[in-house]
């Protein structure tokens, strides 16, 4: 299976499921500061599998991977709080809830992008806007904002990561 095919599948079929994945993780993992790590681990596992063979049902596959990962983590953690294990055995049922439809996500993405931008820290947002909307170079942004190029790069790097989180996690999704 080609790497480019796996990439396309990952971007088009898996990433739009992120709100559902995060919702699932929120409900089933107590330590919220682990969630970003867990999410990325799920993605890495899912992608590694797809590079061998593209799974037929992305939603079910992502949730099954997440579930197994949580179970493994529970076994690995030395101290496990009881309710972090929640109802792991009942999780199978979750795979049947309707996930977001890809077209709907695409339709909505521009709106969510604005919302995401609005939520960025001000300096970070300013750097991103100058880069993406005004199309300025790193150097020009540095001059405009009166900061070093290194700081500009740091703002934008932070912005890229935060933006992706806000972008893929639909605000309309209930956040526990």
């Amino acid at each position: 299976m080609g790497a480019s095919q796996a990439k396309q599948w990952f971007v088009q079929d898996v990433l739009p499921l992120e709100p559902m994945l995060m919702h699932f993780l929120h409900q089933n993992w107590r330590n919220k500061s682990d969630l970003e790590d867990i999410r990325q681990e799920v993605y890495a596992l899912v992608l590694a599998a797809a590079e061998t063979a593209i799974p037929e049902r992305p939603k079910a596959f992502v949730l099954a991977t997440a579930r197994n990962l949580l179970i493994n983590r529970v076994h690995r953690e030395r101290v496990v709080t009881i309710d972090s294990v929640a109802d792991l055995d009942a999780l199978g049922a979750v795979a049947d809830i309707p996930g977001p439809d890809r077209t709907v996500i695409a339709r909505d993405s521009l709106r969510r992008l604005y919302a995401a931008l609005e939520d960025l820290p001000p300096r970070c947002r300013e750097a991103i806007v100058l880069r993406r909307i005004e199309g300025l170079s790193r150097k020009d942004i540095a001059t405009r904002m009166g900061i070093s190029e290194k700081t500009v790069a740091a703002h934008i790097t932070t912005g890229i990561a935060v933006l992706a989180d806000l972008f893929f996690n639909d605000a309309s999704e209930p956040k526990p």
């Binding site: 990325q40 590694a48 521009l110 992008l113 993406r132 893929f168």
Partner: protein, 316 residues
């Protein structure tokens, strides 16, 4: 599996790669280095592709680059983001930078495909001409007459009851009663939308009773019939995205959307199957950037794009 702290670190590394790649001075060596970093683990690839996908989409925000207003110093984000957030709120007050034209009697103004022109008449009224459109204007001491010869125009009329402002389209007359309105003439219908104030439509031939439209009213005239609909004026403002160089669609069929794009561009899009034409989409796009729109269709909806000379075929 990699221990947890590394994942956040990988994410940060991926973001740094994207930041670097995105700026000038990205070399072949950089590209090779990135490729080998990606090859190291699926975790690298997953992090990078995820951030890349969101980052790519931010380029679509470029549609909102404000053409005339470059007055940002500190706090510059405010006007831009107001424009972005208040999607539907059309800035009607682009007074700065308008061409001031003194209008001789019965002069014709026209735009080419993709063109746009703002006319400020000697009475202070404003006519904003959209793509492939023409108006003839004759102002006198006692009358103000405009003929919309073809296409679409938006009017902001300085009210003067002693000197009615009358727009003639074919055999219909639209008389301003103090207002902002939009008139669009297509092959087989005429559409009048009132954003503020009132206008009156008269049928010259039939002598039917005049029809008065209030703000929010949209009249669509075909043949001898006129259909009247009421809409929120915010909705109507979406049809005026062209004043900012963008087209705003909210739940429209792809067939309608491509027809709309084709008004602005010499390269025409053709949809080859009915199911694709019936697909509904929403979004805001630059009217003059067909390529960006077509790329979006390809990437987001997975449609197949084929170029035939200057035409672009779109299929499922």
């Amino acid at each position: 599996m990699t221990p947890s702290p590394t994942m956040a670190q990988i994410n940060a590394e991926a973001a740094a790669w994207i930041e670097q790649r995105d700026r000038d001075g990205w070399t072949a060596e950089n590209e090779t280095a990135l490729a080998s970093w990606l090859a190291q683990s699926p975790a690298h690839r997953a992090a990078f592709w995820r951030l890349e996908a969101a980052w790519k989409d931010t380029s679509r925000l470029g549609a909102f680059r404000a053409p005339q207003r470059r007055t940002h110093r500190e706090g510059f984000t405010a006007p831009i983001f107001k424009a972005v957030a208040a999607l539907a709120v059309i800035a009607l007050c682009t007074a700065a930078g308008l061409q001031y034209l003194s209008m001789p009697e019965g002069k014709t103004y026209s735009t080419t495909v993709g063109g746009r022109q703002i006319l400020t008449l000697s009475d202070g009224s404003k006519i904003d001409l959209n793509t492939d459109s023409a108006v003839r204007v004759a102002l006198s001491e006692t009358t103000r007459k405009v003929w919309l010869e073809k296409g679409e125009a938006y009017f902001e009329v300085t009210h003067d009851s002693s000197r009615p402002f009358v727009v003639t389209v074919g055999n219909r007359q639209i008389t301003d009663l103090g207002t902002k309105f939009q008139i669009r003439q297509d092959a087989n219908h005429l559409r009048v939308a009132v954003l503020e104030g009132r206008v009156q439509i008269d049928e010259k031939k039939t002598g039917a009773k005049p029809l008065v439209l209030d703000a929010g009213d949209v009249a669509v005239a075909t043949g001898n019939a006129i259909h009247l609909a009421r809409r929120d004026t915010k909705e109507l403002e979406k049809d005026l995205g062209w004043q900012r160089g963008v087209l705003v669609f909210d739940n429209r069929t792809l067939g309608d959307v491509t027809a709309e794009f084709n008004r602005y561009n010499s390269r025409k899009m053709v949809i080859t199957d009915r199911a694709t034409a019936a697909t509904r989409i929403a979004g805001t796009f630059r009217a003059d950037n067909v390529d960006a729109f077509v790329n979006t269709l390809e990437r987001v909806l997975g449609l197949h794009i084929t170029h035939h000379g200057s035409d672009i075929a779109i299929a499922h």
